[in-house]
Structure formats: C-alpha cells, structure tokens
C-alpha cells in the first residue's frame, strides 16, 4: 500500500506464553480511513489491538506508526506516538469520578496537538457532562463505553483503536455509539474497530480486514465485502 499509511502491521506473530495467537498479521490504515477488523469469538481481534498498543508485544514482525517502528516500545510510548486504545472491557477506573477518569487521559497529541479539551468532550458527550462527579463504577455499560472512548480522546490520538464498542450493549445504545463513531470520523480521526457484528461496521467502516484463527484471511473495501457472500458465510457467521 501507499506511504500514506499512518499505521502499518507487517507480519506480526504474537504469543501468550507458549501458544501462538497471531500468525503473520499484516494490514495498514491510511489517514482518515476507518478499518473494521472483523472476526468470530477468539479469532484474535483483541490480541491484534493489544499488539498495536504494546500490551501484547509481537515476537516477530514490525508495527509502524507515522513511519516509526514501535513494536519494541512500551504502551505509554506507543500511545504518545499517536495511538489511542479503547479496550473491549472498558477498564474505566471505578473509584474515580467521571471527570477524574477523563483527566487521567489528558495528553497532547503528536506535534503538540490539543484539540480535545474537557469542554469539547462534554459537548460531544453531553451524557458525561451531566454526571461528571459520579464514580466511574456506577455508570451503566453504555455510559462506561462513552467514558472510555472520551478518556482516550483526551489524549488527542491520531489513530483510535476501538475493541468491540457494541459488545453487550442494548440496540438503542449501539445505535448511539454508531452515531458517535460517525461523528468522530467526520472530524477526520483514523479508526480501527474490532467487531464480531458486521452490520454495525457496514455503516462506520470504509475498509475491512477479516481475521480467523490468528490469520488475516480477507482485506478489501467495505463495499467489496458487502458483495462477497463467500467470505461473509465462511468467517463471519452471517
């Protein structure tokens, strides 16, 4: 692919202890693109996300962000290179208030960018503004999902990794999260969304990579996937 790739994975192998989870995973995203990483339960989506942010460092292969090789960096360093990570189990700080959760995320982006402020967050996430003193542990699942996305945005990332943002949420909330992601895309942020739910991704993604048993088995644009019944049947249980 082109040199405009803001994030690129090149043949990464990831192990948990002795067992290999990812096998030569390669893909990239260009600035402003939105890539859906689709796959079934246990396919390796979260592991891929953790590999990128440095929480599950690859044993082999390369990961580059803005052309910088980051595969040996610690998570905090990778985050400062412009990667924002939103984990699948939210991981908000339960005994911190909503506002304190957000404040922990404060960081300037690459090149000192600081587009996201508390005011802007509260503007985009009015629900959080109304509960800024509430403890994180007392939010509903949907509110926690909003908070964890907002907390990561406070660090002004160039690429946002969203791990199953729709998981375990009521359809109406899923819809809201979808709208939010659309809005973020409109602001020009680059996205990688890991999902089992292909339908959720059809609206929010421009490109897609399908992962199965730790291998990338398909890459294409979202429209190509729409037309490809074979891939949908074989890997996505549609």
């Amino acid at each position: 692919m082109s040199a405009a790739e803001i994030l690129k994975l090149d043949g990464i192998d990831v192990f948990y202890g002795a067992s290999q989870i990812l096998f030569g995973v390669s893909f990239g995203v260009e600035k402003g693109q939105s890539l859906a990483l689709l796959g079934r339960n246990g396919a390796g989506k979260s592991t891929t996300m953790k590999a990128i942010i440095g929480l599950a460092p690859p044993k082999r292969g390369a990961i580059s962000v803005h052309g910088v090789a980051v595969q040996k960096f610690t998570a905090d360093r990778i985050a400062r290179e412009g990667i924002g990570f939103v984990p699948e189990d939210r991981q908000i700080f339960p005994e911190h208030s909503v506002e304190d959760n957000l404040k922990i995320g404060i960081k300037t982006g690459v090149g000192g960018r600081s587009d996201w402020t508390l005011e802007k967050i509260y503007d985009v996430f009015p629900i959080l503004a109304s509960m800024r003193t509430r403890m994180g542990g007392r939010l509903s699942g949907g509110e926690q999902q909003m908070l964890t996305i907002a907390r990561t945005l406070m660090g002004n990332p160039d690429v946002l990794l969203l791990d199953e943002p729709s998981e375990g949420l009521a359809p109406i909330i899923v819809e809201k999260i979808g709208e939010l992601i659309q809005r973020l895309r409109g602001m020009g942020i680059t996205l990688i969304v890991a999902e089992q739910n292909m339908h959720f991704c059809l609206d929010i993604a421009s490109h897609v990579a399908v992962i199965d048993k730790g291998h990338i088995v398909y890459r294409g644009s979202i429209d190509e996937l729409r037309a490809n019944d074979d891939v949908k049947k074989r890997y996505l249980a549609v």
Binding site: I53, G54, L55, T74, A75, D76, A79, R80, F85, P87, Q91, F93, P94, E95, H96, D100, K103, I104, G105, K107, R151, T152, G155
Partner: protein, 301 residues
Amino acid sequence: MDLDALMRCVGTTSCIVTQLTSGMIIGMLLFLIASGVTLIFGVLNVINFAHGSLYMIGAYAAWTFYQLTGSYFVSALGAAVAVGVLGVLFERFLMSKVYGSNVLMQLLVCYAVVLISDDLIKIIWGPVSLSMGMPVEFRLPPLRFFGGVVPPFYIFMIVAAMAIGLLLWLVIARTRFGNIVRAAAVNGPMVSALGIRVNLYYAAVFGIGSALAGAAGALAAPVRSLTPGMGFSILIESFIVTVIGGMGSIVGAFVASIIIGLTRSFGSIGFPLFVDGVMFLIMALVLIFKPSGLFGRPHNK
C-alpha cells in the same frame, strides 16, 4: 498486671498528659512508617519488608548530618531526601525486577537488603548504639499542660508527623499526580496505554514511601537509641498498624497508629508484660470483625 497503677494514672491529669504524649510520639513514628508501607502496597501491590531498614538508615543519616551541620532541621530534611533517593534506587534496580514474582521472592530480595544494610550500618557507624541527644533547637524548658511535663521536641514531632501525613493525603487525594497514582494502583496497564510513563509513578511512590520512613528515622533519632537492627521491631508494629487500619488506607494507618501508640504507653503502666499480646489481640479482633481493616475496602487487592 498492675491495673491499679493504670487506674491511678488515669485519675491524675499529669499522668494522662505524659502518657498521651508518649503514646502519640510512638503512634506518629509508626504512622510515618506504616503510611509508607501501605502506600507502596496499595499502589505497587508489594510488601516492602525492607521498610524498617529505611527507617534505620534515616535515623543514622540524620545523626551524621547533625554532626556535620549542627542543624536538626537540615539533618531531618536531608535524611528524608537521602532515604527517598535510596528508595527510588532500590525500586528501580531490585524491587521492580520482582513485581511479577511470588511473595517469597520479594521477601527474599527485601531480606537481603535488610541484612546488607544492617551490616553496612555496623561497618560505617559501628556496632554499639549511638544517641543524638536533644538537638540544640529544642534545648528549651519543658512545657506544662495540666500538671504534665511535655518536652517541646515531642510537640514538634507530633505536629511534624501530622503535617506530613496531611500533605501526603492531599497529594494522593487532590493532585493530578495522586489521581494517576490511584488509577495505577487499580490498573497500571490501562494507565500506561493512556500514554503515561507509569514506571516513573511507581518509582516516585516508592521514593515517597521511603522518604516517609527516612523522616520517621530522623524524628526518632533524638528520642531513641540508634542500633543496627532498630528497624525490625518497628516494622512488625507497622505491619500490625497496616492490618488494623486496612491495607492501602492512609487514614486507616493514622487511626491505627494512634491506637497502637496509646496501647503501648498506657499498657506499659497497666500491663507491661502483656503489651505486645494486647496489640496482637486488637489485630485479631479487627481481623475477625472487619477482615479488610478499619478503613480498608474489601475489594482492595
């Protein structure tokens, strides 16, 4: 057992004042040490079994600084800072290597440090006990409250320890540093994934906890004799305090330290042979009725 003597004491204000202040200075020394133990445990999830050695080093360092400078305040500050720096080095080069390991491994590393520092103390300062004596700044006539006699240094010690404790609490509860430290205590990897150099915060917390022990040593130097191994018994007591107050709770450490301090001072009159027994009894009762400690939260690791 001499409960009559205890009754006689609590019958006179002068005896109450004397025992209260001596109980408070025992308690405040314990508090400074236990709050470091509990802070380090709460954030890093390791028990620093070498914390007593840091207290000892703080006391000896204050003694030497006092010989050199003749100023107690400078010595105390110097000792706290020096032990804080030592703590950071200890964390970076030893403890951080065994964070993932089991407790036995951590215990072993700490025990090695305890043995080495006891020997170093003997080599540098000699095996016999030293005493600093009352620093020049505090060679003042004793104060009298309700007929009880209180050396001015005792007042200074109590106020200083409380001020340090309050400052510590403010830093942890109210600052960005504290906000991040509390988050790192719950979920270090997530804090790191938000771009924060979490290892620096771990080292800083270890350094602060160590500096508290150093400050305790410096405050103890004028009123305790300095001996190699002096850190051991106070370490055991600070563990009792930590268990009673609740692991990870600074407020709990404060309350429990005062309980233990007063038990020691009044106990030494009423049941001198059974003071340790009573301390363990209090701990056992707390463990039975509130296993997470008076101020500990059950879900704390």
